[in-house]
Symmetry: C2
Subunit: 458 residues, 2 copies
């Protein structure tokens, strides 16, 4: 017998899990299908374990800054095996809590791969057979996986992707990171703190190539000062395990040099998980590397929604959760308007950190309007001074007298993310900033300083 659900969710990552929880809490009969672990990439192989590494090593970074300022001395060592064990316990406990929550709300959880059977049902391949689930609405939230290309693939030995890197049992003494985006840079920072010699290789001419060029420059300055070997604008011919090492060979046009390290991390983007589910039979269309096309209501086909990485709109956990909330509101007839993400905050964690929300100057200028920018340097901020981490800045982008984007780079700038998102969402004017009571002393006063600073043409 096939049970018919109001909502069947494929994928238990941030988007799928949040949708299932909210739908069930709102009275919808809900099933969640997950072939691997609850929590998806974010919890199990992405944001969360990386933040556990960065949190566990933050004393090393704080000490380094104060040592450089000649105020503190000492040494801090992280027990990597203990850290990995703590991480695994934390992830298991979180997955368990998620399962309990689903149970409390009456969500039926199916551990297996789902595949479309017909227009109103899917089949889930369980360990002990097959289960058919009828649906009124299907939500695809199957996420993404690390990208790999010929010559640039994890080989399971010394060349790993982000999932393999987070699962290492020992931190290598030397690490080559292929890809200077946020994922590669966060993992490189954690490895650096734990003593690894870092080499970064990227085909783009700058680190964090999607960010404001001033941010890229600030990052490069800090990381070079830490002794990183940074190779930009170069192509990789291959990266392979050779004996006990990973060996990266640059393309012939870039000299063909061989770089050797104990480990190589390939972090060159992610690819959507949209294949082998029979979605095409529902009329779902894919684009690019397999992103599910969605309309303005996040619908991929009649009765089929797609949220999160798999729709390619924004590969961020909080974007997935936000979309999931919208879809449930749609099902409850509460959301009539087209989906509006509002400004989406994006964060690089570590030291320095990067925060971006809303438009960057170049994006705003592409709209053809007059764009102004204003800036404040962190060196003038007493909290940055107190942490002896004064490299960095906050930059505001203005359109028609309202702030349309905020970008920051420097230690701890992630802490301004929610406030900056609220300001961009509300379109603050300079007067709004002048009339608001910013607590003193806070790092956020650098946000105030940037908002109140003289503006110049972008």
């Amino acid at each position: 017998m096939t049970t018919t659900y109001d909502l069947v969710v494929l994928g238990g990552g941030p988007g799928g899990f949040d949708a299932a929880v909210e739908a069930a809490a709102s009275g919808l009969k809900t099933a969640l299908v997950e072939a691997a672990d609850l929590g998806g990439s974010c919890l199990n192989h992405g944001c969360i374990p990386t933040k556990l590494w960065l949190g566990a090593t933050s004393a090393i970074e704080e000490l380094a800054a104060q040592s450089k300022a000649r105020v503190a001395s000492g040494q801090v060592a992280v027990d990597f095996a203990a850290l990995q064990a703590k991480k695994d316990r934390h992830l298991a406990a979180t997955r368990k809590a998620m399962g309990v929550r689903l149970g409390q709300l009456g969500v039926d959880l199916f551990a297996g791969r789902g595949r479309v059977a017909d227009k109103t049902s899917i089949e889930v391949k369980l360990a002990d057979g097959t289960q058919s689930l009828g649906f009124r609405t299907l939500l695809v939230a199957t996420g993404s996986r690390p990208a790999a290309f010929p010559g640039l693939s994890p080989d399971g030995a010394r060349v790993v992707d982000s999932t393999g890197f987070l699962a290492l049992s020992a931190m290598p003494q030397s690490l080559i990171v292929v890809g200077g985006g946020f994922i590669g840079l966060e993992m490189a920072q954690a490895a650096h703190r734990m003593g690894a010699k870092i080499t970064i290789v990227d085909a783009l001419p700058r680190l964090a190539g999607l960010e404001d060029p001033e941010v890229s420059k600030a990052l490069e300055t800090v990381f070079k000062r830490q002794g990183w070997d940074i190779r930009l604008g170069v192509k990789v011919a291959s990266v392979l395990t050779q004996g006990e090492n990973a060996v990266l060979t640059l393309a012939a046009e870039n000299g063909g040099e061989e770089l050797v390290a104990e480990c190589a991390l390939v972090a060159i983007g992610r690819r959507p998980n949209s294949a082998d589910m029979g979605l095409e039979s529902l009329g779902v269309e894919l684009s690019g590397p397999g992103y599910i096309k969605t309309n303005e209501f996040l619908e991929a086909a009649p009765g089929v929604y797609a949220v999160g990485d798999v729709n390619g709109r924004m590969l961020l956990a909080h974007a997935a959760s936000h979309q999931a909330h919208y879809v449930v509101e749609r099902l409850l007839d509460k959301a009539k308007e087209a989906y509006d993400s509002g400004p989406v905050p994006s964060i690089l964690y570590g030291s320095p950190e990067v925060l971006r929300v809303g438009l960057m100057a170049e994006e705003a200028k592409a709209g053809g309007e007059a764009v102004l920018v204003s800036r404040a340097q962190l060196i003038a901020n007493p909290i940055a001074q107190a942490h002896a981490a004064t490299q960095g800045f906050v930059k505001c982008v203005w359109r028609q007298g309202r702030v349309a984007g905020i970008t920051a780079v420097g230690a701890d700038v992630s802490r301004m993310a929610v406030a900056a998102t609220m300001m961009v969402k509300a379109g603050w004017t300079r007067e709004d900033a002048a009339g608001f009571m910013f607590p003193h002393p806070t790092l956020d006063e650098s946000l105030k300083a940037a908002l109140l600073a003289d503006k110049e043409a972008a």
Copy 2:
């Protein structure tokens, strides 16, 4: 010859300095009179040096948390002499930058004490004579100083106030803090990190007696776990230097016990600096321990404003700056309405930290309306987990479906201050929180969790 200024400001702390800068930048002819150091108590003897101490010692705290979680080991030592030298250099550089800024804007700075001469002029006692300054508007921003009572006074040796404590040349091995408010607790935390054995004595029955009782309880739990000797609800008969020690004697009714430490810090509040300036001759009235009475426009008398600690509204640097901005807007005819502070954020720094903005539950209930509260524990937050600092919570106070106050206690909760202030100011509903995209993972998600949690009667 007497020059007449549009605005004469008495006091170069956060309120006075900001007023002078904004007035001058807006074209008003402005003079600033400061008898001591630019920056006032906040910069020279208060918030800023304390934050420099807390920042310099943060690696110790991070290491302690990770050590307890058995993830890291090591030792960090702070060179107190180097820290004090860095602090002094930082304060001097900041004062210099403030002076330069005043000069650039054409503010005339007079280093001396000002005293009212008549209805339109003051006299400043300079090192080399007396200067008369005419004013159209007088702004009194003379701040406050540490309170002292008979038997509870700094004696210049082993018993000090906050100013004396921040000026110490060596950190004592043991410290008695009289007063469990924010000032005493911040300084005790810095001293604890640098190795001092801490004893706290307060006449109130709980730490941070102005905060939510749940906050007091959380603080006491953490500090007791750190080995602090906390004596609450007890009166002090005397605290005196005896030889190389400070000796505190409890009141007879509390057993008369003697507590001995290398140093005692008296942090029992602050008193306004409103005497000996001839303000009475302008019609200015004082209340309580000498706070300048102000009307709804922050006027103390016709043509006379008072901002900051000295008016007793809120003894916080950012409140002073916010009031200063309003006064300048008044002078420019831009502010017609009565002064509205909006929700005022208040922060205890350290580990744990406390954040409070808007109403606490008891305050809201005193208004007679139905009050609900909702809560989230930090232990469920991945960033708190990553820093192994999971003690604490966020608590929201609701009135008529809108958030009227937010209180938080725990590591790093200060970073949510601006966002929380914006939410309370806007009177967010639960739906506002549900529809907002909180970045993941952030500590701020505990704010989201509290806003979305089930509500109960306060």
